[in-house]
């Protein structure tokens, strides 16, 4: 995604949850979302089945 597309997502989602984002904060927010998107791309590739659930109560 381009920076402009990420910024559009950030603006729309922030409005949805009532979170103001000032112009001087936006470059850092975009950078943070890019890091998160890279992590998300990594976990997206894990072949999960419908039986793979998130443990409702985490036990190590």
């Amino acid at each position: 995604m381009s920076d402009a597309e990420i910024e559009a997502h950030a603006r729309a989602t922030a409005a949805l949850i009532g979170l103001p984002i000032a112009p001087h904060q936006m470059p850092g927010v975009i950078a943070g979302l890019k890091v998160a998107a890279a992590a998300a791309a990594l976990i997206e590739r894990v072949p999960l089945t419908e039986a793979d659930e998130a443990a409702p109560v985490f036990r190590p």
């Binding site: 979170l19 894990v46 793979d52 998130a54």
Partner: protein, 467 residues
């Protein structure tokens, strides 16, 4: 001097808790200005607690296994009468804590004396303790370098000898990273082993508390004192008391060497201790688990989401009062698609299953602790494996996968960093199956016995009093 020796001297009335604590307070006053480990020194409280220990001894009562031992507490744990800032400016408006955190209550009951609260990354969101509000904590081995974080003040205070023991929290590596960079011992027990009540949350799914010390014996004593059932911590799993002091002898323990993911992403001098430890333990079995990178990625996403959700009220009202090093990451964390978080939690479960297979092949895994020695304060980017990576988040590359699934892990310092080709502290990470802290202590004892593990001395020029 070991804390056992200090306690023995106090019990035998060769010295007093008050004298030990006065010496620690004087040392902190003289030397902490150069290191910035403490954000508050609790001198009045310390004197009263030390006097109570001495009074107990005079009255013939048992003063506890940590009688009169000075303790530093990460300012994430509540200390009665003190504001728990958690490294923030925002919480300077908060009321003082009404009571001590549960872990502090236990340590107090064991006789430890709270001498102060320590510096940290804001809201525990960082690996460097370059706190913009309080200033950075400096590494006692080289004050131009970071101490690591987020429990950096606690680790540096122990490494510098300002206190013998301290406590911190570890969500993604915040005990193990600063312990490693400062060359001391640190333990992150199994998720749910110790109560976190009164320790402010960061990402509750991953939050652990644990001790720092300058010897394995001291670490064991503090960990033992921190064990106690607390029905008020929803994550704690009730367990019997499990002693770890004096455990020794590998006695057939199978030791594995972390391979694959764990052989990449670090500089040679930081990875070399793994082979040294493996050799000392006679380990030859290499284990390359699946899904490590994915597990770390899942931890990052869940941490972002949980941390942002926790702080959303203040992010809405006063985002610019956050530390510039945390603010935009918290803001971004509030904006993640729900799909990413659910996927992350399912991948986390898959990584936990993959990790459980590690312990079919071994009892203790020897893994790298850190990707590099402590960088200079202010370092934003660093080179590893021919790539330039963000220096601060990458410090957790080897610790984050294990806290994500709650495995017990210990930071073990190399007594002589030169053996790894390093001139600053390096170490290894020992990891075991859930609830097997005892195995970590046994393997660590073998490394001490072999002369490999121990705290490297802090260079004399950094120990001297402030000019």
């Amino acid at each position: 001097m070991s804390i056992a020796a200090t306690v023995a001297a106090i019990r035998a009335r060769r010295t007093t808790a008050s004298a030990v604590v006065e010496a620690a307070l004087a040392d902190i006053a003289a030397r902490d200005g150069a290191l910035n480990c403490f954000t508050a020194v609790t001198a009045d409280r310390a004197r009263a607690e030390a006097a109570a220990v001495d009074a107990a001894i005079a009255a013939g009562r048992d003063p506890g296994p940590l009688a009169g031992v000075p303790l530093a507490v990460k300012n994430l744990f509540d200390l009665e009468g003190l504001r728990t800032l958690a490294g923030s400016k925002i919480r300077r408006d908060a009321p003082a804590a009404a009571q001590d955190a549960f872990a502090v209550q236990l340590l107090r009951a064991a006789g430890a004396v709270v001498v102060g609260a320590t510096n940290m990354d804001e809201f525990a969101f960082g690996f460097s303790t370059e706190n913009s509000h309080e200033g950075p904590t400096r590494n006692p081995h080289d004050p131009a370098r970071i101490a690591g974080g987020s429990s950096g003040g606690s680790a540096a205070a122990v490494a510098a000898g300002l206190v013998p023991i301290a406590i911190g929290s570890d969500t993604n590596g915040s005990i193990r990273v600063p312990a490693g960079l400062c060359g001391i011992w640190g333990l992150k027990p199994t998720y749910g082993r110790l109560s976190r009540r009164g320790a402010h949350l960061f990402a509750g799914s991953f939050d652990h508390v644990g001790p720092f010390a300058r010897s394995l014996d001291d670490l064991a004593l503090v960990y033992e004192a921190m064990q106690g059932e607390d029905p008020a911590d929803p994550a704690q799993v009730p367990r019997e008391f499990e002693p770890v002091s004096g455990l020794a002898g590998l006695g057939g323990l199978r030791i594995g060497i972390a391979a694959g993911y764990f052989e990449r992403g670090g500089q040679p001098e930081a990875l070399a201790p793994v082979a040294l430890a493996a050799q000392a333990l006679g380990a030859t079995t290499r284990i390359a688990p699946d899904l490590v990178a994915e597990g770390r990625a899942a931890a990052l996403l869940v941490t972002l989401a949980e941390g942002a959700n926790l702080h959303l009220p203040n992010l809405r009202l006063r985002a610019d009062d956050f530390d510039p090093l945390t603010r935009d990451r918290f803001l971004a964390g509030a904006l993640l698609p729900a799909h990413w978080i659910t996927q992350a939690q399912r991948v986390r479960a898959a990584w936990a299953r993959a990790a459980s297979r590690i312990f079919e092949a071994c009892d203790v895994l020897v893994a790298p602790l850190l990707p590099y020695v402590a960088p200079p304060i202010g370092t934003a980017m660093i080179e590893v494996d021919g790539a330039t990576v963000p220096a601060r988040p990458h410090l957790g590359v080897y610790t984050q996968p294990f806290s994500a699934i709650g495995l017990p892990a210990m930071a073990v310092p190399l007594a002589d960093p030169a053996r790894a080709g390093a001139s600053l502290p390096v170490g290894v990470q020992l990891v075991a199956a859930p609830w097997r802290e005892d195995l970590l202590f046994r393997a660590a004892a073998a490394l001490v016995e072999a002369g490999l593990a121990g705290c490297p001395p802090v260079a004399a020029q950094h120990v001297k009093e402030n000019a």
